[in-house]
Amino acid sequence: MSRNITLNINGAQHTVDVEDRMLLSDAIREKAGLTGTHVACEHGVCGACTILLDGEAVRSCLMFTVQAAGHEITTVEGIAPAPGELSVVQRAMQDNHGLQCGFCTPGIVTSLTAYLRDFPNASDDELKEALSGNLCRCTGYMGIINAARQAQKEIQGSAK
């Protein structure tokens, strides 16, 4: 069975025809053409497909597209404040070599963005735990952890 629904992604409306069974990750990539959301396990472990649903980080491979109608979706393409700019988290990732091949990166950017917004005062162990939902095979996590630390400091600083 398929239906016509409207997805709100990064503030734009995408009216798409989807089968009920279509995973949200596939609709974002193939129907809305936003290929920054990466699919790397399709069983919810790797975190590459993480998006923000009404601001909360969730796996887009663990939702069906029809469940997302009426909600606000933010993908990695919607994180930077403006084209050509980088967000605090994105810049911290670049500053700390938090990415190599870049495949896991979109899920890390979305996850950290939401996590640090909600838990700017997380302990270092909590930061690492928050990152446990994103697999990376290139960096050994060192650059990502350091990026999270830098972004956290900046976010704490700007809150003062």
Binding site: M1, R21, L62, V66, G133
Partner: protein, 287 residues
């Protein structure tokens, strides 16, 4: 890894859900957070002709305190339960169990009711429900009923919910006095299913242990209540021999092997972590 075809239904009330389940019978499956169900469907280990989405049913999102119990609606997200001040205060064991579930992105979507209804024997919340003698609320074609947690978990992924029935909420007794609540587990990595885990609660009165609740998970087809160990702890008080309590808890377990650990390992480590959990819980209660 794409799911087989199905039709999604998007009801907004429990009565609609029940009607849809009644209409489609065996061919239908309710979906809560979907964090376990969707991967099983994508792996084509499970398929259904109809999915009944509970995410639009707002009456399942409520958290409330009624006298000496805390009620958590089935669709309350795990992340909400982890941080909700009322839950943290009234059912600390629930809040403490949740950080062990997957990762924060999973908990943002996963629900308290979904986890309990899914009844994975390695999961934390079923063990918490069992330890605390929670009451499961269900609604089905014959109306609503209540099921004691000890009668709810039947075997791996199997509960005493009957066809057409859904879990609508869980009531956890509120413990008062000087209490300690601990969830301790051994997992290969942070967020993995526990090789073996324990949910434990104690209430102390001076050197006495007034109440004790211990349930293990990852050790069989269902969470397992360690009643003899609880009795031994109550008998022994705050200076009880915790290794002996741990051994009692593990004594009758017969966990199976998998790629991550042998059954023998799980049994031996169950004793260890029960002892460790009780020690922490007593310390918390006494502080």
């Amino acid at each position: 890894m794409k799911p087989a075809p199905f039709e999604m239904h998007l009801p907004t009330s429990v009565s609609e859900v029940v009607a849809l389940l009644d209409e489609h019978g065996d061919l239908a499956k309710p979906i809560a957070g979907g964090q376990s169900l969707v991967p099983m469907m994508s792996l084509r280990l499970a398929s259904f002709e109809h999915l009944i989405d509970l995410n639009g049913v707002s009456e399942l999102n409520q958290v409330s305190v009624n006298g000496d119990s805390l009620r958590i609606g089935a669709m309350v997200r795990q992340s909400t339960a982890e941080h909700d001040p009322q839950i943290v205060k009234s059912a600390p064991l629930v809040a403490k169990a949740i950080p062990h579930i997957g990762h924060f992105q999973i908990r943002n979507r996963g629900t308290v009711g979904g986890s309990i209804a899914h009844a994975d024997p390695s999961s934390e919340l079923p063990a918490v429900a069992l330890a605390l003698d929670a009451t499961i609320e269900a609604v089905g074609p014959n109306g609503s009923r209540e099921i004691a947690a000890k009668d709810f978990f039947v075997s791996t992924w199997e509960t005493s919910l009957i066809d057409g029935e859904i879990l609508t909420g869980v009531r956890f007794p509120i413990w008062s006095g000087k209490c300690g609540f601990v969830v301790e587990e051994v997992a290969r990595r942070h967020g993995d299913f526990a090789l073996v885990g324990v949910a434990a609660a104690v209430q102390v009165d001076g050197s006495k242990v007034a109440k004790a609740a211990i349930a293990l998970f990852g050790v069989g087809g269902t969470p397992v209540r360690a009643s003899e160990a609880e009795q031994a702890l109550i008998a022994g008080g705050t200076s009880a021999d915790l290794d002996a309590v741990g051994n009692l808890a593990a004594m009758n377990l017969a966990p199976s092997d998998d790629v991550h650990a042998s059954g023998e390992y799980r049994k031996a480590v169950a004793a260890t972590i029960v002892a460790r959990a009780i020690a922490k819980a007593l310390k918390e209660a006494q502080s």
